[in-house]
C-alpha cells in the first residue's frame, strides 16, 4: 500500500528463499572458487530448476492448502512411459500420447483427491499408497505391453518444438513453460479469490468450509494439478530424450519438498508464496548442479542441502514471527 520498502519485503514469505539463494552463491564463491561467469552461462542447473520447479509449483499450492502429494515421484516416469508406449511402441499419433500422459495424471490426481476428501487418512499416507501403486502399474504395464522397461519414442517436430527441444545451446524448452506457469500460478494464488480460498483452507479448513468455500472441490482440483504437472514433466522428458524408462522420479519427492520449504511455505499450511517456491527450486538447483563448477567434491552437495534446508526453515520461522508481530506506525 505504501509502495516498496525493505520492511515490507522482509515480511514476505519469499524473503528467506532469496536469502538462501544469495548465501549459497556466496558460499560457492568464497569456499569453492566458483567461476561465476561459467556458472551463470551454464544450462544444466537452469534445466534442473525448470523440471523441478514445474512440479514444485502445484505441490507448493497443495502444501499451502495443508495437504501433501508425494505420488509425483511415480507420476514423472508414468508420464514419460504413457507417451512412449502410446506413441512410440504402438505408433499412435503424438497427440494421443500427450492426452494419454496428461489423462493418466488427471486420473491419479482424482483418485488422490477423492481419497483425501472422503477419508480422514492424511494425504501423506494416501499419496504414499498411490505412489507405490502407480510404480507397480507402470512397471508391470510396460513389461506386459512392450516386454521392456525402456521404450524409445520418436516425436514429430512440432511436438519437440513445444515440449522437448534445446535452444540457445543446451537450454531445454521446458524452462519457458516453467516461467510461464510460475506467472500463471502467481496470478492465481496472489491476485484471485481462488488464492484466498487456498490460504484460508490451509489456515483453518473447518472455518473455510463454514465460510462457504467449496473445500472438497478445491482440494481435488489441487491434487489433479499436481499429478498432472508431474506427468507433464515426465512427458516432456520423454519427448526430449527420445525414450522413457520406468525408473527415476523418486528424487523429485524430496527435492520438491525441500524447494518448497526453502521457498518459505509453512509445512502445516496457510502461508507461502509462488515467488518463494520459484526461488526455492532455483536455489536447490544451484546447490545440486552448481557444485560441479566449484572445487568442492560434489559428494558434499547433500550436506549443503541439508544445512540450507534447516537454516532456511529457521529463518522462515523468524520472518514469520516478524510478520505476525508487525504493527504499523501511526500515520500522522
Amino acid at each position: 500500500m505504501n509502495g516498496f520498502s525493505f520492511g515490507h519485503f522482509i515480511r514476505r514469505p519469499e524473503f528467506g528463499s532469496l536469502l538462501s539463494l544469495v548465501a549459497v552463491i556466496a558460499f560457492y564463491v568464497i569456499f569453492g572458487h566458483v567461476n561465476l561467469e561459467r556458472l551463470f552461462g551454464a544450462a544444466s542447473w537452469v534445466n534442473f530448476a525448470a523440471n523441478l520447479g514445474i512440479v514444485a509449483l502445484p505441490v507448493g499450492l497443495l502444501m499451502i492448502a495443508g495437504e501433501l502429494d508425494i505420488s509425483i515421484g511415480a507420476m514423472i516416469p508414468a508420464g514419460s512411459m504413457s507417451i512412449a508406449i502410446l506413441s512410440g511402441y504402438y505408433d499412435l499419433p503424438i497427440a494421443v500420447g500427450i492426452i494419454g500422459a496428461l489423462g493418466f495424471g488427471v486420473l491419479v490426481g482424482l483418485v488422490n483427491g477423492f481419497l483425501a476428501v472422503r477419508t480422514t487418512v492424511p494425504s501423506l499416507i494416501i499419496t504414499l499408497g498411490t505412489l507405490v501403486a502407480v510404480q507397480g502399474i507402470v512397471l508391470a504395464g510396460s513389461v506386459l505391453l512392450t516386454g521392456a522397461a525402456s521404450v524409445p519414442l520418436d516425436a514429430p517436430v512440432w511436438a519437440k518444438t513445444i515440449f522437448g527441444q534445446l535452444f540457445h545451446g543446451n537450454y531445454q524448452v521446458i524452462i519457458i513453460w516453467w516461467i510461464g506457469l510460475t506467472a500463471v500460478f502467481a496470478f492465481v494464488l496472489h491476485a484471485t479469490h481462488y488464492g484466498n480460498w487456498i490460504f484460508a483452507m490451509g489456515g483453518d479448513e473447518e472455518s473455510a468450509r463454514n465460510a462457504g468455500i467449496p473445500t472438497n472441490r478445491l482440494k481435488i482440483t489441487l491434487f489433479v494439478l499436481s499429478s498432472t504437472s508431474a506427468s507433464f514433466v515426465g512427458m516432456c522428458g520423454a519427448i526430449l530424450f527420445n525414450s522413457a524408462q520406468v525408473s527415476g522420479g523418486m528424487n523429485y519427492i524430496f527435492n520438491t519438498i525441500v524447494s518448497i520449504v526453502v521457498g518459505g511455505v509453512l509445512l502445516t499450511g496457510g502461508f507461502g508464496s509462488i515467488i518463494g517456491i520459484f526461488f526455492g527450486a532455483l536455489t536447490f538447483a544451484i546447490v545440486n548442479q552448481g557444485i560441479y563448477f566449484t572445487d568442492i567434491d560434489r559428494n558434499w552437495s547433500n550436506l549443503i542441502i541439508g544445512v540450507m534446508l534447516l537454516s532456511a526453515v529457521l529463518l522462515n520461522n523468524t520472518f514469520r514471527l516478524i510478520a505476525l508481530s508487525f504493527v504499523p506506525k501511526k500515520r500522522k
Binding site: 500500500m1 496470478f187 491476485a191 484471485t192 479469490h193 488464492g195 484466498n196 480460498w197 490460504f199 484460508a200 489456515g203 483453518d204 472455518s207 473455510a208 468450509r209 463454514n210 465460510a211 462457504g212 468455500i213 509453512l266 496457510g270 502461508f271 514469520r320 510478520a323 505476525l324 508481530s325 508487525f326 504493527v327 504499523p328 501511526k330 500515520r331
Partner: protein
C-alpha cells in the same frame, strides 16, 4: 419485548446420537436486540445446541422457527444464508492471513473480467478496517496486518464485525471470553453490547458466570441436555446461577466439605468464582 415474534425459536427440540440423548425437549426464544446467555457445565449439551442452530446438526425431533416460520438447516451454509452466524472461541479467523483477506474469505470482492478477474485487495482492506473500527477497535488501521498479530480480543472483535457486516441477524458466540484476559474480555463484552444495540439477537455461550451477567438480558441453564432454568436478568443472584450450573446442590455440598477441612479455605474461594480476580 417478548410479545413480538422471536427471530429464532426452538420448540421441543431433541437431539440423539444413536442411543445417546444429548438434548432433551429444549424450548428457547431469541429476540432482536437481546442477549441470551446459555450457561452450562462441560458436557451439558451447549456445543450440540449451537451446532443445531448453526446447521451442523439436524434435530432428531422438534422444530426450529425463524421469524415464526419453520426452517430446516441441512448445512452450515443454510443457516448462514438465513442470517445465523457463529463465532468460535478463537474467532474463526486465519492467523497467517491479512485482515482484509480473512475478512472476505468466501465472499471476496473482485475487479476485472473473465480470466483477469482478481481479488480487490484495496477495497477489501478499506471495508474490513472500517467495519472493525465502527465497533470501536480503533487500534486496527492497516488491513494488510496479519490476523495472528492481533490480540485475542481483537480477533474476536474482527470476527464479530465480520459477521455483522455480512448481514447476521443472530450472532452465536461460543465461549468468546474463555481464553481472554480480564481487559480483553471486557473489550469483547463491549462489542457484544454494540451488537445488541444494532438490533442483533446474540447468543452468548459460556460456563463462566461473571461475563454473561454483565451483558445478558435473558439466561438459560442447560444441565445434562435439559433446560434447567430460563430467567430474566436480575431474577437470580450469581450464587444461585453458579449452583444451578454445577448441578444444584453439588456446589454447596462441596463447599461445606472443603470449609470443614479448614486449611483449604483459600482454594474454596478459588473453586467458587475463579473469574473474579
Amino acid at each position: 419485548m417478548s410479545q413480538e415474534t422471536p427471530i429464532l425459536e426452538l420448540q421441543h427440540v431433541d437431539k440423539n446420537f444413536g442411543p445417546i440423548e444429548v438434548l432433551n425437549d429444549i424450548c428457547l426464544k431469541m429476540h432482536a436486540g437481546e442477549v441470551l446467555c446459555l450457561l452450562g457445565d462441560n458436557g451439558a449439551g451447549k456445543s450440540t445446541l449451537i451446532k443445531l442452530l448453526a446447521g451442523v446438526y439436524v434435530p432428531t425431533r422438534g422444530k426450529v422457527l425463524m421469524d415464526g416460520k419453520q426452517v430446516h438447516f441441512e448445512r452450515p451454509r443454510d443457516a448462514q444464508e438465513a442470517g445465523i452466524s457463529t463465532v468460535h472461541q478463537f474467532g474463526g479467523t486465519f492467523p497467517l492471513m491479512s485482515i482484509g483477506r480473512s475478512f472476505f474469505v468466501g465472499v471476496e470482492p473482485t475487479k476485472g473480467w473473465g480470466i483477469f478477474k482478481r481479488f480487490d485487495r484495496r477495497t477489501a482492506n478499506v471495508i474490513a478496517v472500517k467495519a472493525v473500527q465502527d465497533f470501536g477497535i480503533t487500534r486496527i488501521d492497516d488491513g494488510d496486518r496479519l490476523v495472528g498479530g492481533l490480540s485475542g480480543g481483537e480477533r474476536q472483535s474482527l470476527a464479530i464485525a465480520r459477521a455483522v457486516h455480512f448481514g447476521a441477524r443472530v450472532l452465536i458466540l461460543d465461549e468468546p471470553t474463555a481464553a481472554l484476559g480480564v481487559k480483553q474480555a471486557s473489550h469483547v463484552l463491549r462489542i457484544v453490547n454494540e451488537a445488541r444495540k444494532r438490533g442483533l439477537a446474540v447468543i452468548f455461550i459460556t460456563h463462566q458466570v461473571m461475563h454473561p451477567l454483565a451483558v445478558g438480558d435473558r439466561f438459560a441453564v442447560l444441565i445434562r441436555g435439559r433446560l434447567a432454568a430460563d430467567f430474566l436478568k436480575g431474577e437470580k443472584s450469581r450464587e444461585e446461577i453458579t449452583d444451578l450450573m454445577a448441578g444444584g446442590e453439588d456446589m454447596a455440598e462441596l463447599e461445606a466439605e472443603i470449609s470443614g477441612n479448614g486449611e483449604n479455605l483459600h482454594s474454596s474461594a478459588h473453586v467458587r468464582a475463579p473469574q473474579t480476580e
